[in-house]
């Protein structure tokens, strides 16, 4: 029990993020770019070489932020920028390192460490608030699939007010899509997963809110 308390306490302390970039080969850079375009959700909100969303900054735009900041934002954006709408995307250490190096090179990020802020106590947020923060940019504030970012996406975001379509998805399917993202469910990789960012209760709150938007119940199975 003591060890657990100690671990929790350590997690709440701020620390320094180091990252020493390495130069990628053209092959590795191409691989990183392919992963960004076709596998990871980053271009849902960010653009890269003219492709992708406009909610976040251009990934290739030069920035004075140090390389360690880029790394830390990919690794855990909520920790680096508490309150950010950018979710944490789980990925292997190799992928994290590859993508960070690629973006650091594209942005011309200077060397240097960054301080990671202390963890703050989270504030309970209801489904509506979460929806406006994380979903409305693409799905629209009223759930009509017409958020300001929608036109920059290769496929139209789900229309959550569409009762006919939404009633064909069970609550657990909605939960999985929100938590794990679009790619693993055979949908667009531009839809990020929020499972490492939101609590289960918050995701359930979002599911309930989507049901309010569609005024429909989901399929009975997949419980």
């Amino acid at each position: 029990m003591g060890a657990l308390v100690l671990a929790c306490g350590l997690a709440r302390i701020g620390r320094t993020q180091n990252f020493t970039p390495r130069t990628l080969s053209p092959f590795a850079a191409q691989k990183a770019r392919t992963l960004l375009r076709e596998r990871l959700p980053c271009l849902g909100c960010h653009q890269l070489d003219g492709e992708g969303g406009r909610l976040g900054p251009d990934l290739a735009a030069s920035s004075p932020a140090p390389a360690a900041f880029v790394y830390a934002m990919i690794r855990d954006p909520q920790r680096m920028r508490p309150g950010s709408a950018m979710p944490k995307t789980p990925m292997s250490p190799e992928t994290l390192e590859l993508v960070a190096n690629y973006l650091v090179a594209r942005r011309g990020s200077p060397a240097g460490d960054v301080e990671i802020p202390r963890v703050r106590d989270s504030v309970p947020r209801d489904g509506h608030m979460l929806y406006l923060t994380f979903c409305a940019g693409c799905h629209g504030s009223a759930g009509r699939g017409d958020g300001p970012n929608a036109k920059f996406l290769p496929v139209r975001p789900a229309v959550h007010t569409d009762a006919r379509t939404m009633s064909q998805r069970s609550d657990d399917m909605l939960f999985d899509a929100i938590a794990a993202g679009g790619y693993v469910l055979g949908r667009s990789n531009r839809m990020p997963g929020f499972g490492a960012t939101l609590t289960s209760a918050e995701i359930r709150g979002l599911v309930r809110y989507i049901r309010e938007l569609c005024r429909c119940a989901g399929l009975a199975w997949a419980r």
Binding site: F27, T34, M91, E94
Partner: protein, 727 residues
């Protein structure tokens, strides 16, 4: 008005012209993909220097330990000289230094020593890990030996596969088992895609290619390793290593190798399905890096054998390709490498994070986190219990049915189904529930499932509709097909699935290929195949060949001939189809045309001693015995190991009443293929002519080992025993 009538007459005349048979356009066959070549593969040591971590992980993996030369670290079977006792033989497995061998002793026969040149498998698989052995033979082939070993608690047991003989599945070798019950005795299952020997042995090693060398008059069998090496997945390493040595790697996006991590779902699966799938060989000679679809079909094995149930689960025997039937693949993005680390074969989640083992829920919950939220609510089993694991219910270990039940060989169900106890049992599959709850009936379990989950997600529509329709509902040149059926087939002929597309085209061709409208459609489709011309035509031809073969088996050579000719419309110079057409013509009594067809087959591929043998048989049937013998000798000139050529020369000698002339070729036939029962029976006749009842008895017994149902041979044996008093 008159003009209109004239136009109508003109139109009618046009229709009349169109009743002429629509020709099919010739193949737009592109030159066969020649890259990469065998010399482009360098082996694992070329990779190890730069990729030490991946190499180290691979070295410990099941791929890295999949096989090799016999050595103490690799061989799990006991080569300790202890006898492996059959009813009619004793086999000893011994190791002297680096040399491992089996010695087969049978009463009345000299000992047979089989040197082991390769070990296949290391008993790694949890559901039943086996190890087999191969040996190089004089004809250049590398063949599986019949004695295999399976790990069991407290050791293991020698076993053999009897499915091609007594059909008892895989059984432990005991003093009640006859040697000839083992399908691999004498050894005939060769490494490589040699179409004459139905097998899937191109995957029990790396870059295995076996081909008949017409110059050397023997097979050439080449492979890089008997483990599954880096290049099995990554493709040939030569260019990549050249780039590395010249310092080019850091300067170009082309590194002589593609990134597998960035492949999309189907391209990634194709890498694994090179081995982890049942396949029909479209053409031999596949090497990693060549287009898989040009060499293999994953769909055509379903014709006839039906290895999979309509829901994709294993009906007879299969590998892990049943993943294609899972909801995770069909409606998701699941690739093999989402759970299996390709270097270590350890388990990981969809985000690449390592998992503890094959039972880890993270394999599923990284895509379905809703089920991890309150796991007991979903599983209805206590958290942490064996029954609460995702794979316990959705990927149960199922015994491969073709193996039988004497040897455990279970593989986890990669169709990842929802347990449906009643439907599962009706299909003949032990439901996941009953894997643990054996005492409960399927009906009780079904009630429980519905009590917990209410209505279940409807099962996906059954697969293989076009395969079953092609196989069961059609005949050559039917008078009609319902219009909606034709329309559906025409739609399926546009499918992205090459097997489905080819089967739809073959269906229309088989049933309505002489109908002008259908024929025009087929001609149009053939004309726009472009880069798919060769892979579609091969599938189409094989499908028609399958139907024709079945007509021959049913004793209907007339319909077989029509169907083979349709196959030849699609691939006119396919030597195998020409050979089979010749056989059908001979069965119909048309020996002259049979001979002409064998001639065409040999013109297309001279490396076919069997075409010469059948040509000789046709000449004999026409009364030209000398010509027949000359053809048998041509078969031997092409392949000195062709047992059937010696056999037929011997039979001619016997027919002439010249036992002495017959004995030498018959003995060679039996020596080359000890499983050729007719050679033993013919030898018995020869010995009887020479008055050697004892030798005749021995040969009859040897023949009956492989053809126990041969009533004439059994009667003859009984007569000899009665006449000689058993001496």
């Amino acid at each position: 008005m008159g003009a209109i009538r004239d136009a109508a007459v003109f139109a009618l005349a046009l229709v009349g012209c169109e009743r002429e048979r629509v020709p099919f356009p010739p193949s737009q066959r592109a030159p066969r993909t020649a890259e990469p070549r065998a010399a482009d593969f360098l082996g694992v040591e070329a990779c190890a220097t730069c990729h030490a971590a991946q190499y180290a992980a691979w070295r410990r993996s099941t791929h890295g330990r999949a096989g090799g030369k016999p050595a103490p670290g690799l061989v799990i079977a006991p080569f300790n000289g202890a006898p492996i006792r059959f009813a009619d033989a004793v086999v000893t497995a011994t190791a002297t230094g680096a040399e491992y061998r089996f010695t087969v002793l049978r009463a009345g026969s000299p000992p047979v020593a089989l040197r082991i040149d390769g070990v296949i498998g290391g008993g790694h698989m949890m559901g039943g890990g086996t190890q087999g052995f191969v040996s190089r033979f004089g004809d250049g082939t590398v063949r599986f030996l019949p004695f295999e070993f399976v790990r069991r608690e407290g050791g293991g047991v020698w076993f053999c596969n009897t499915n091609s003989r007594s059909k008892r599945g895989w059984i432990p070798i005991t003093p009640q088992v006859r040697l000839a019950e083992c399908g691999d005795w004498p050894p005939t299952r060769v490494l490589g895609d040699v179409t004459r020997y139905a097998n899937c042995q191109a995957c029990h090693g790396s870059q295995i290619v076996a081909a008949f060398d017409t110059t050397q008059r023997r097979y050439a069998t080449r492979f890089t390793a008997l483990s599954i090496n880096c290049e099995s997945c990554h493709g040939p390493g030569r260019r990549h290593v050249e780039f590395a040595r010249s310092g080019e790697l850091g300067r170009s996006a082309d590194i002589g190798m593609r990134s597998l991590a960035a492949l999309d779902k189907d391209a990634s699966l194709e890498v694994c399905f090179r081995c982890h799938a049942l396949k029909d060989v479209l053409q031999p000679g596949y090497l990693p890096g060549r287009p898989l679809a040009e060499y293999y079909s994953l769909g055509l094995p379903q014709l006839g054998e039906h290895p999979l149930f309509p829901d994709g689960r294993v009906r007879t025997f299969a590998y892990q390709e049943t993943q294609r039937f899972s909801d995770c693949y069909r409606n998701g993005s699941m690739r093999c490498v989402d759970c299996h680390d390709p270097h270590s074969q350890a388990y990981r989640d969809v985000n690449g994070m390592p998992l503890r083992d094959r039972f880890s829920d993270g394999q599923c919950t990284s895509c379905h986190p809703s089920k991890a939220e309150h796991s007991e609510t979903h599983t209805h089993h206590p958290a942490g219990s064996a029954g609460s694991r995702c794979v316990a219910c959705h990927m149960p270990y199922l015994q491969e049915p073709e193996v039988g039940h004497a040897i455990r060989y279970a593989r986890s169900d990669h169709t990842i189904p929802i347990p449906r106890p009643a439907a599962d049992e009706a299909e003949g599959v032990t439901s996941a529930c009953r894997q643990c709850h054996e005492a409960q009936t399927p009906e009780q379990l079904e009630v429980q499932v519905h009590e917990w989950y209410g209505s279940l997600k409807p099962a996906a529509p059954p697969g293989f509709a076009v395969t079953d329709f092609f196989e069961d509902s059609l005949a050559p040149d039917m008078p009609s097909l319902p219009a909606d059926v034709v329309q559906r087939l025409e739609r399926l002929a546009q499918s992205e699935d090459l097997d489905e597309r080819a089967l739809a085209l073959a269906s229309l061709h088989l049933a309505r290929g002489e109908d002008t409208r259908v024929r025009r459609f087929l001609a149009s489709e053939l004309g726009r195949l472009d880069s798919l011309d060769d892979p579609i035509r091969r599938r189409w031809s094989i499908a028609l060949g399958f139907v024709a073969d079945r007509y021959r088996q049913q004793g209907d050579p007339a319909r077989a001939i029509v169907t083979y000719r349709k196959a030849l419309e699609i691939r006119p110079n396919e030597p195998g189809v020409l050979l089979n057409l010749g056989l059908a013509l001979a069965e119909a009594g048309d020996f002259a045309n049979a001979i002409e067809t064998y001639r065409r087959s040999l013109a297309a591929d001279p490396a076919q001693p069997l075409a010469h043998v059948n040509w000789g048989i046709a000449l004999e049937s026409l009364g030209d015995t000398a010509g027949g013998v000359a053809e048998f000798r041509r078969a031997l000139a092409a392949d000195p190991s062709e047992a059937l050529a010696y056999f037929n020369i011997g039979v001619v000698g016997l027919a002439r009443g010249n036992g002495r002339e017959a004995m030498e070729p018959l003995a060679r036939a039996a020596a080359l293929d000890p499983g050729l029962a007719p050679a033993h029976f013919a030898l018995a006749q020869g010995y009887l002519l020479a008055g050697d009842a004892r030798a005749a008895t021995r040969e009859l017994k040897l023949g009956l080992d492989f053809d126990p149902g041969n009533a004439a041979a059994r009667r003859l044996l009984e007569q000899i025993v009665r006449a000689t008093g058993g001496h």
